[in-house]
Amino acid sequence: MKISVQTEDFDLGAECAAITRGRSDIGALASFVGLVRDSNDGAGISRMTLEHYPGMTEQSLAEIVEQARGRWDVMDATVIHRVGELRPGDNIVLVVVASAHRGDAFAACEFIMDYLKTRAPFWKKEKTPEGERWVDARESDDESAARWKA
């Protein structure tokens, strides 16, 4: 398992290769990459700053991956989240889940993202033509996370 909170960019291909290297028991890799959009809530975005709670963030991401492991057949997983200043088109977050079969890989990958969005202590501040503003939490994200409780 790899958890990283970093300012540097990441490479999806390299992270997938790192998970499968030297093993042939993995039958499915599901991945998600989140990027900075150039607009949000009707305003153009020229820059985004990501703040986090060092220490709690890594712990929270590790717990989310452990929860996924408890629910699905997860053979390995990588979660990378960038912090600091980002621009539209930049990568923000990467999740890769390796499993024997696609069902577990898809579900665990989506679960990790839904929980990351509602539990991991990151905050986005975006720069619009009117100035800087903190991004508000979305109810739809809470709803997405809640559907895994059943």
């Binding site: 989140g34 703040e51 709690m56 539990r119 905050w123």
Partner: protein, 84 residues
């Protein structure tokens, strides 16, 4: 007893500080009591009561208002998270 308090994101900006080491009176023994103790400072500290869905973590775990606060704890106050 003394606790280390952290503030993040919009709350950090509203309060004008990211952390403080604070000695607490004996009657402050829970998250809710610490919250009320800080909010009672008035002025910008009203942000602790006006921040919608304020989250509080004790030693890096999200905690409820009735959770205990002990000497040496790290208590963090922050708005709902918006990563990903």
């Amino acid at each position: 007893m003394s606790v280390n308090i952290l503030y993040f994101a919009g709350l950090r900006e509203a309060l004008g500080q990211s952390s403080e080491q604070l000695s607490l009176p004996a009657q402050v023994g829970s998250v809710g009591q610490l919250h009320a103790h800080l909010a009672a400072r008035g002025g910008v500290w009203a942000a602790l009561t006006t921040t919608k869905n304020l989250r509080i973590a004790v030693n890096r775990k999200v905690a409820a208002m009735d959770a205990p606060v002990k000497d040496g704890d790290e208590v963090a106050f922050f708005p709902p998270v918006t990563g990903g």
